[in-house]
């Protein structure tokens, strides 16, 4: 078990190193840099001043030195300075993190609450009309862009209830009710999409388990259907579901990029888009790296969780 964890950790770290190179290289490929953008907005044209800024930002050095410098910064927890705001990058990112985490957690809760029961019902009522309706419902969730769903929710609120959701961020300490509504709507839009994946995997995993002999035994000894399905079958069917939940949690960030934009929430994901548009390298590379770390370690965590959930899984 210990050597397995060590091995997995080693691979995870190698992957992260590879990712950092890819991210760094991709951002340097980009045409135009922050200096050009700063200059075009401010209207400067002085070439020597431009060189001075490049030097101040450390962008006149060779790429490999810039890269090593970045790695050193990550390792020491110093995330560098935002080109645009001229303050430490961490100061800009820190207040955004709780917003995104809150939204991600709420979305996952919506997804699980919606996805697992519909998946179970769909599996139990396989090939009935109800099964078809639920499957189409979940496939529709996979097909709608979550940002559009968010827009439609806002639209519905406005035209039927005559109520406009708060379009600027409300702190939970200022007005908890407004805050809750502000987060519930995007969580619903994002969670519906993820619920579709969870529903599909729950359904297929449960269908597989239900064919096993011990389930037939449970039926044969006259146990109530509720007990057979929820206690006997689901317990063994839940493993792939946990995997999907783990993967979805990490990948939610992708869905949040646009949802935060639509609902105007000051989160990490929305900020990433803005930072990309401004070519604010320290922010972008650190944010993308942060996402990569979250993805890789949540994958690792899910794999470890297997051993806890299913005693049959042993790590050699």
């Amino acid at each position: 078990m210990k050597s397995y964890i060590a091995q997995r950790l080693g691979i995870a770290i190698l992957t992260l190193v590879g990712m950092s190179i890819v991210i760094f290289a991709l951002l340097r490929l980009a045409p135009g840099d922050i200096v050009d953008i700063l200059f075009s907005t401010a209207g400067y044209v002085n070439e020597s001043e431009k060189q001075a800024i490049l030097k101040e930002l450390g962008m006149d050095r060779p790429y490999w030195i810039q890269y090593l410098d970045w790695v050193r910064q990550i390792l020491t927890g110093d995330l560098g300075k935002s080109y645009r705001y001229d303050v430490p990058a961490w100061d800009v990112i820190r207040p955004l993190v709780p917003v995104t985490i809150e939204l991600a957690v709420l979305s996952i809760i919506v997804a699980v609450v919606l996805g697992v029961p519909t998946g179970v019902i769909s599996a139990v009522r396989q090939d009935t009309a109800l099964d078809y309706v639920l499957r189409v419902f979940s496939l529709a969730g996979l097909s709608m862009p979550s940002f559009w769903l968010g827009m439609v929710i806002i639209l519905g609120m406005v035209s039927w209830l005559g109520w406009i959701p708060p379009l600027t961020y409300v702190r939970p300490t200022d007005n908890f009710k407004a805050h809750a509504i502000q987060f519930a709507l995007p969580a619903l839009a994002v969670g519906y999409r993820s619920s579709a994946l969870i529903m599909r995997i729950t359904r297929s995993s449960l269908l597989e388990v239900m064919r096993e002999v011990y389930i037939r035994t449970a039926w044969a000894k006259g146990q109530a259907g509720r007990v057979v399905i929820w206690r006997h079958a689901l317990k063994n069917a839940i493993l792939p579901v946990v995997t999907v939940i783990g993967i979805e949690f990490a990948f939610l960030i992708g869905g949040l990029v646009v949802t935060e934009t639509v609902f105007n929430l000051p989160g990490v994901a929305r900020f990433l888009v803005q930072a990309i548009l401004w070519r604010d390298y320290p922010i972008v590379q650190n944010l993308v790296m942060f996402i990569a770390i979250v993805v890789i370690f949540s994958n690792l965590f899910v794999d470890m969780l297997y051993g806890v959930l299913d005693p049959r899984v042993r790590y050699g």
Binding site: I11, L14, T15, L16, G18, M19, V22, I23, L26, L27, L29, A30, P31, Y132, R135, V136, L139, A140, L142, S143, M144, P145, F147, W148, M151, V152, I154, L155, V158, S159, L167, L197, R200, I201, R203, S204, S205, L207, E208, V244, A250, F251, I253, G254, G255, V257, V258, T261, V262, L272, V273, I276, L277, V284, V288, I291, A292, V295, I296
Partner: protein, 301 residues
Amino acid sequence: MVSPIGVPVDLVVVGAPARPGWGTVLGRFVRRKPLGAIGGAIMVVMLLTAVLAPWLQTHDPIATEAAYTLGRPNAEHWLGTDHLGRDIYSRIVHGAWASLVVGVGSTLLGSVLGGIIGLLSAYVGGKTDLITQRLLDILQGLPLLVLALVMSASLGPSIRNVIIAISIPIIPRASRVIRASVLSIREMQYIEAARALGVRHLRTAFRHILPNTVGPFIVLCTAQLGSAILVEATLSFLGMGIPEPYPSWGRMLSVSAAEYAQKAPHLVLFPGIAISLAVFGSNLLGDALRDTLDPRLRGSR
């Protein structure tokens, strides 16, 4: 007519069951997978719309008309007009083309590249396979959208670059699928026979193994098509996809729809319905094709 060994050809032919024609196969698919058939129909309609866009349009999709801004749907403008007075119906019809070109283009590019990598990686095996897989892990560690976002920002907005940006994240996913299928095919006896006959490695891989991965490949492509269309719409929505003035569904939603939502909800509704229908169609078709072509995966994700 008589065959070289002197047996009447008729007898030889009668021995083998007749291969069912395309019509029969299609009919069977429609009967067994009604949802998949609906998905296929949606995709055919989308393809026809994209190809016939210049004849289906009622107005020039790019022409602005100051007198008709934010017009409600009416007899003249079936789905209304946007904030610049452009006809939404005509823009949606033309948007099908962009959506399809980017969706199919990036899916094919990513799947073919990923497929070749997966094929060679699994065929060669050993250390090469291991290293290739670890390298692909790097690409797969980021959410599809985030990677596409960074890619398309660094390449700059154009249809070609959007296709490249979306295809890169598909490569590792495609390579996984093809690799898994090649690993099992590689051990089959006819491959051993081919090698024993002196067939070269590359020829064995591309001539004898590749054709047998067509099933998983088709399943992979239809499954990726929906998400490729979705990512294109999202990139365009964020202003990093297909550049103006070319009509794209995602872009149509980005024109500060939130601002006009109250005055002109049709601005938000129709392009989104178009995106959802296209993705829904390809998802339905993908599911049904997977069940039909790959019975091992039946019922799974």
